[in-house]
Every structure is written in C-alpha cells, then in structure tokens.
Amino acid sequence: MGWAIALHGGAGDIPPSLPPERRLPREAGLRHCLQIGVDALQAQKHPLDVVELVVRELENHPNFNAGKGSVLTTVGTVEMEACIMDGKTKKCGAVSGLTTVVNPVSLARLVMEKTPHIYLAFDGAEHFAREQGVETVNSSHFVTPENVERLKQAKEANRVQIDYTQPIQKDEKNESQIADGDGDSKLGTVGCVAVDRNGNLAAATSTGGLVNKMVGRIGDTPIIGAGTFANNLCAVSATGKGESIIRGTVARDVAALMEFKGLSLQEAASYVVDECVPRGNVGLVAVSATGEVTMPFNTTGMFRACATEDGYSEIAIWPSVQK
C-alpha cells in the first residue's frame, strides 16, 4: 500500500518520428506535472485535490489539448469540457461547452460541490462560472497559432468526412481521423488519477475536444463512466476516440471488471483496451486502491507519466521496450 499517481496528455497516432522540438516540450510538461502531483501526495493532500491540481497544470500547458492549447471547432472557436470524480463518495462534477473558463476542471469540481446537479453545460455553465467567480479570460486566450493551422489543415484535408450533410460510413465514425497534420495532439485530452496511502481515489479529465468538431459536440471526457470514473476500487481517465470510448463505457468497465469479475487493475485495464475498443482508439491511465498503476493504450502512442510511493516512475510516449 502506498500512494500512486498517473497522468496523460492524450493517446493517438503519434508518429515515432515526432521531431524533438515537438516531443521535448511535452515530455518536460509531463515531468513537471508529475512532480507537482508527487509533491502534493507526499504532502498528504487528498487525491481529489491532487488530480485537480495536476489537471489545472496540464490545462495551463499550451502543448496539450485542454484549457490553453485546446483545439478548435469547425467555426474556429474553443469549447472545453472536463470532469472530476471522487472514488469513495462517487461524487462527481462535469462541464461542457466552456469558452472563457481558464481551468475547466476546477469548474467541474465546483459543480460537484456547490450545485445540486452533476453536469452543467454551455451558457448555463458559463453563467455558473461567473457566479462562482472563477478565473475567466477572453476566449481568444485559448487559441494558439498552432491550433489555427491545425484547423485549416483539417478543413482542407477532410472536408467530406466532417461534413455531416454528406453520408458517412455507419459503423466506423472517423471522428479522429480528421487532421493529417502533425499528428501529435489532434486526439488530445489530459487526465490524472491518484490514490493516497489510505486508499482514497480520484480521477479528472479535461479536453478541448476534437479538431474541427461541430459546435455543440460533447465527447467522452465529461461523461461519467466513459472518459472518467472512480469508485472505491480504482480511478480511471481515458483518452482517444470519443465515440468508441462512450459506446465502450471504458472507464466504468475497468472498474466493473474488477468489481464483478474479480480482475486485478492491470488485467481489467488491459482487457478493456485490448478486447472492448477497436485498435487505435483508446488509451487510459488507472490506479487502484492498493497503489497499483497501469497505463495501457492500443494507439501508436500516449503521452503519459506515473509514479508510485516505492520509487517507481515512468515518463513515456510510445510502448515501452520491455513490458
């Protein structure tokens, strides 16, 4: 038994040829955020506070698709969403359609703690943000030149796929195969899971969504049981193709396999990633109440980092050489 933490900055078709100038800042970001989480756990902060803190930091990092650095909708705007869940109480909060809130994950936390509801979206969520006095900025703050370019490429490359007036393939929704581009954060999401020495668990996930998404699109991130879930056994944050994660109820299924089938954390997470979701669609980070950690994915890579109390630590993008 000991504390453990894992975080991710999105899974997807990250080319192994990713140039150093794109790779290094992200690795540095993961390292920085991991350290913040480790320090917080060592200072005996509650995992709910830890995951919020770490995800805020990831949101503030312009190289990940959440908060500043969020990808753009088809009309060039930002619509962010986030979710947070406490394992022991299963209390949770979620937000969608945010355009001015600097740290969506913290607004999700406020929805959980200060409203009778779990999930607020769009104007109602923005209104709530103002009432709560959280930090807001002009929407243009979130738009990076890189994402303007990414949207342009997405529009040029795949006009038909994202034009919903055209027929699309019924079973294979190519949600994420939109941008060719640089392929390093088009699927991005950020997330963090943590457990303390007492087995308290929490999970948080935040995202700007999908490049060139339709206005109003909601993905898996804010949906309890899909992108985010925590109970008294484990905490899970998933990333990848929203459609597949929603239909696979990915985060809940990791917990359900442990609860109903008696699998270990690693077995449960591997089963979901290998058997329940098509290849190339999903990655997740998870910790168990006993301090185990796992970070499986079936995509080319996943920006990820973890640490446990016994001194184990990993920061990686592609599959590890030995497993």
């Binding site: 200060k114 409203t115 779990i118 769009f122 919903y164 339709m214 909601i218 929603i246 109820t249 299924d253």
Partner: protein
C-alpha cells in the same frame, strides 16, 4: 427466430395521492404506446425503430415530462434532452439543451446516423436540427399551463431548495420538494406535476436490443443542467445482451452508471436479466431513488424501482402484458 419484448416508462416517483383520473390517463397513454410498439415489433420493425417510434409518441403527448409537457428551467423555458442506443454495434446518439425540436429522440437518432459525433448540445444541436430539417416548434408549444403553475409554486415555496448555492441531499429537487410540501395546485398535490422522464426498451424477433430515453429534466433546474437521460451508460444503454432505460434521481443514476451496470453484471457476473435489474436497484444506488425498465436478447422483460411507484408498461410475445403505476 427469437421472441420480441417491449417495456415503456413515464417516470419513477409518483405522488401517493395522484387522483384516479390522472392515473387512468397515464395508464391509457402507456397502453397506447405499448400497443404501438407491439404492432411495430409484430411487423418486424428493428428494435431501434420501435423505441424511437414509441418515445416520439410519449414526447408528443403532454402528460409526461418530455417533449410537449417538459418541466421548466428556472427561467421558465424548456431544455430537453434525449439519447438512443442500438444494441448491435452499440451505436448511440444523444442531445441536450434543445428548445425547439418537437421530437428530441429523433434528433438523437440523427446524431447517431448522420453526424460524425455521438452527442450534440445546445445551439450546436439546434443548428444540426435545422440542417437536418426535423420538425420544429416555438418554445411555447412545449410549455403547458400545469408546468407554469408548478414552476411558480416551486419558486415561491421552495426557493431555498432550488437555490443551487445550498447543496441538496437528494437532487430530484422537484419531486423531493413536492413530496415534503403540503402545497396544492388545482386541488392536487404539486408533485403530480413533477414526473421525471420517458423511455422505451425493446428486443425484436432477431434478438436485437435497443433503448431510448427522453426528458425535460428537473422542474426549476438551472439552465445548462444535464441529467442522466442523455448519458450513455447512465440513463440509457443497449448492447447485444440487453437494453435499459432509467428514470429517477439523475445524479444517483449517473454515479451508479445504472444502465451500463445492468449489462455489466450480466456480462461479467453471468446474472440473468431480472437478477441483474434487482442487483443494481438494490445495491448500486446508495440510497438514491430510481427505477428502470430492461429487456434481454432472449425476449425477457424486467422492471424495478425503489421509488413510490413508477409509470410503466411491458409486453412479451407470449401474450403477457401489464400496465401499472404502483408496486
């Protein structure tokens, strides 16, 4: 050939003093919807079409809280949401924050079939509705006199309960407030006007399961509030084993991922449909109040609730048919 089965609901949590006339109206509507679904299943319509058809009928009738007759937000407007899921391939579609779409469930179906996404909300969903050319109505169409009166009473009598700055223990604010309140409107306890949600689950002769759920949400809810109905795995779920639609305290249903859990205990624990339904209602709600309907691919049907009553009906191929409100 498998056996078909169908179940419908009009919400869980019914006032014990619900006047006889309203009970009869509710039963008649449930029976009409059930019969509509039964003939569709007999004529071999796929389950996904059947659940959409039945929920459209429930939305179009003002009696229950969905489509016309939806509960009102704190601003007196209607914000509707719905979701639909097809068991084979687990395809799904969901919508939230609709203000002009006559049949939210059909827009959810279009999100599933015609958009690259699974869930659209608020202005983006409305824009999609316009592009798809679905039937629209002014927001007034959805607002019934009963609901205007209910909102007024809710605001006057329970302003604190509905003030989101003060957290509630139970989150089904409308129903909870009304249950505890002796207030009456038109001589009726006000909870009469605070029903929850509508839903339908069906399995067709090919053994395909589907589920659909639609709602106006909570009376006096904050604008922008999303409940369990549009959330896949919470209010609605279907896979190759079963189809499930839930109703009740949205927040308890979301925490429990109630609809997915019925399927998960069947899949991972090997429980039968009724056992699975009993298990989730008894073990997974942590004191929350909810009800659900479910069908299995073998043509079984199950219904269970821990609320005071649930508007529901079900039928199976062997001639069994039941419409009820109480235990």
């Amino acid at each position: 050939m498998g056996r078909w089965a169908i179940a419908v609901h009009g919400g869980a949590g019914v006032d014990p003093n619900l006047p006889q006339q309203r009970q009869e109206e509710a039963k008649q509507l449930l029976t009409r919807c059930l019969n509509l679904g039964i003939s569709a299943l007999r004529s071999n319509l796929p389950a996904i079409d059947v659940v959409e058809l039945v929920v459209r009928e429930l939305e179009s009738d003002p009696l229950f809280n969905s489509g016309r007759g939806s509960a009102l937000t704190e601003k007196g407007t209607v914000e509707m949401e719905a979701s639909i899921m097809d068991g084979p391939n687990r395809r799904c579609g969901a919508v939230s924050g609709l203000t002009t779409v006559k049949n939210p469930i059909s827009l959810a179906r279009l999100v599933m079939e015609k958009s690259p996404h699974s869930y659209l909300a608020f202005s983006g969903a409305e824009e999609f509705a316009r592009k798809q050319g679905v039937e629209l109505e002014q927001n007034d169409y959805f607002i019934t006199e009963d609901n205007v009166g209910m909102l007024k009473l809710a605001k006057e009598a329970n302003s604190i309960l509905f003030d989101y700055r003060i957290p509630l223990k139970t989150c089904s604010a409308g129903a909870a407030a009304a249950m505890e309140s002796p207030l009456q409107m038109n001589g009726l306890p006000i909870s009469v006007y605070a029903p929850e949600t509508v839903g339908c689950v069906a399995v067709d002769m090919e053994g395909r399961c589907a589920a659909a759920t639609s709602t106006g949400g909570l009376m006096n809810k904050m604008t922008g509030r999303i409940g369990d109905s549009p959330l896949i795995g919470s209010g609605t779920y279907a896979c190759d084993l079963c189809g499930v639609s839930c109703t009740g305290e949205g927040e308890a249903i979301i925490r429990a991922t109630l609809a997915r859990d019925v399927a998960a205990v069947m899949e991972y624990k090997g429980l039968g449909l009724q056992e699975a339904v009993n298990f989730v209602i008894n073990e997974r709600l942590d004191g929350g109040k909810a009800g659900l309907i479910a069908v299995s691919r073998n043509g079984e049907v199950a219904c269970r609730f821990n609320t005071n009553g649930m508007f529901r009906g079900c039928a199976t191929e062997d001639g069994f048919m039941e419409v009820g409100i109480w235990d």
